[in-house]
């Protein structure tokens, strides 16, 4: 039987009005989001997967970059909370007619949405919005900067299996340079006391990554050895201007996650990937589909975590940002 838990979370609100970066979140705030997501996950298991919590709230999903899983995940989360959702896809908006981001935002703002979920190819675009809009802004991925809800759902998935985050060895392997998932995860995992190792070819390791409190290696076996969690990052060919490594085959030979390499990790290792995967590049198919893989759990948990973020931000900031 479950033991009755009272007041597990010390906090009942986030300190900030927006979710722009995981670097802004304290351990208590992260725990609040993950605890709230646990309750939200149960809603998704009901016969009627909808609660009236955000009735009358309007959420705009503003996606300047193609996205399937993040956009649909946010949209399902918003609908399960009964919010009214509005999807603005770049191809059909006035941006193609030359409107600037600020003008687009102000136009939307005039329709007074309560929250704007934004994905943009430029780092910092959500910050710009947070300065000019009254709505709460949720960063759904900005350039090579951050993707906070992805890191939160990764942390949720890890905590669900391992029951904790602190003290775990998490190896993040792949295209570190172009990855917003990496930055968000490093901030969050180090805040929660995990031991983070990052690994990739020297050309794909950001110069200042050590300052974030991680161990850097170019030897995949060192990263994987005794790891509790192995997280693979996609090789982002679309963001690469120039040659970062000789060939995809060679990348796979040196940095690809194979079953043989997996044996170096802890016996109960979890394999994660934020998707979309390049099979045979950063991850072998046997690993992606194998028993250690939680890649589909990550997608499922994404909805619950985004519901938690939407719910918590809908009430406004606890104090300091309160206007």
């Amino acid at each position: 039987m479950t033991v009755e838990q009272l007041a597990t979370s010390a906090l009942t609100a986030l300190r900030h009005k927006h979710l722009l970066s995981t670097a802004d979140l304290s351990p208590e705030e992260i725990t609040l989001v993950l605890d709230t997501a646990e309750a939200m996950k149960e809603v998704g298991a009901r016969p009627i997967k909808k609660v009236p919590a955000l009735r009358g709230k309007t959420v705009v999903n503003l996606f300047f970059e193609p996205s399937t899983r993040t956009r649909t995940s946010f949209e399902i989360a918003e609908k399960r909370l009964s919010a009214d959702t509005l999807n603005i896809a770049i191809a059909t908006s006035s941006v193609v007619k030359g409107e600037t981001l600020a003008d687009t935002a102000l136009t939307l703002e005039a329709m007074s949405p309560d929250m704007i979920v934004i994905r943009h190819s430029s780092s910092g675009a959500p910050y710009l919005l947070s300065r000019i809009c009254r709505s709460a802004i949720i960063n759904a991925g900005d350039g090579m900067h951050e993707h906070p809800t992805q890191a939160l759902l990764d942390a949720y998935t890890i905590r669900e299996r391992k029951k904790r985050l602190s003290g775990l060895k998490v190896a993040i392997i792949g295209d570190l340079l172009h990855s917003r998932v990496l930055r968000s995860n490093v901030h969050l995992l180090t805040t929660m006391g995990a031991e983070v190792w990052v690994c990739g070819p020297p050309t794909l390791v950001p110069a200042d990554i050590r300052r974030l409190g991680v161990t850097v290696t170019h030897v995949i076996d060192d990263a994987v050895r005794e790891a509790d969690v192995v997280m693979l990052l996609r090789i982002q060919l679309e963001r690469m201007e120039g040659a970062f490594f000789p060939s995809l085959r060679e990348y796979f030979a040196v940095f690809g996650m194979t079953e043989a390499r997996l044996r170096l990790a802890k016996p109960d290792v979890m394999i994660m990937h934020p998707g979309p995967m390049n099979r045979g590049v950063e991850i072998a198919s046997e690993v992606a589909d194998g028993p250690y893989s939680v890649i589909l759990d990550q997608v499922a948990n994404g909805v619950a975590v985004r519901m938690a973020v939407l719910y918590l931000l809908a009430g406004g900031a606890a104090h300091e940002d309160a206007a």
């Binding site: 009942t12 609100a13 919590a53 909370l81 406004g316």
Partner: protein, 179 residues
């Protein structure tokens, strides 16, 4: 701070309610208990224990969090959101007689939210309301089927239910007011 119910009184009251449940429902067929978080949950478990002692049968028992159904959510312009906890109803409520359990019945707004939440889980045969204390001052047309104690109060007073499971002791206390 007058103590209006002590541990013995709470124990006897819940046993009496268990007998009333059996009498009105002519047995335990199709019964299930659902406690409203937080203190309705341990009360529901205790009633389930009493029912088992009397009949020898387990009654399915669940926990309901009504936060996402509250009618005061999003009413303020800015403010922290109430904490959401897990709902745990591991059985189908379709065609069951649901015994909804809460500690204090006051305005009836929590019960309204609980009824809406329950209906989203299925179509029960009926829903019966059990409360440890009914303190009056209803703002909605809601009435309890089983009442531990009717306690006349003024709106300025507050009724605090303390339970062993959450607070380390069994006690109902009336606080505040002009007295």
């Amino acid at each position: 701070m007058p103590v209006v119910m002590d541990a013995d009184r709470i124990g006897r009251t819940l046993t009496r309610i268990a007998h009333e449940i059996l009498e009105r429902n002519k047995g335990i067929d199709d019964l299930a208990l659902v406690g409203v978080r937080t203190r309705g949950v341990p009360i529901a478990r205790r009633i389930a224990r009493s029912l088992k002692e009397i009949t020898g049968h387990d009654i399915p028992t669940g926990a309901l969090d009504i936060t996402l159904y509250r009618d005061d959510l999003m009413r303020q312009q800015v403010g922290p959101q109430p904490l959401v906890r897990r709902t745990e109803i591991a059985f189908s409520i379709d065609n069951r007689k649901i015994l909804l359990v809460d500690d204090v019945l006051y305005t009836g707004r929590t019960t309204r939210a609980a009824l809406d939440a329950l209906i989203d889980f299925g179509r029960p045969k009926n829903i019966q309301l059990i409360v440890l204390v009914d303190r009056g001052h209803r703002e909605l047309p809601i009435k309890a089927d089983y009442v531990g104690k009717n306690l006349p109060t003024s709106p300025e007073e507050s009724v605090q239910v303390h339970l062993q499971e959450s607070d380390g002791r069994d006690e109902v206390v009336l606080e505040g007011g002009a007295a």
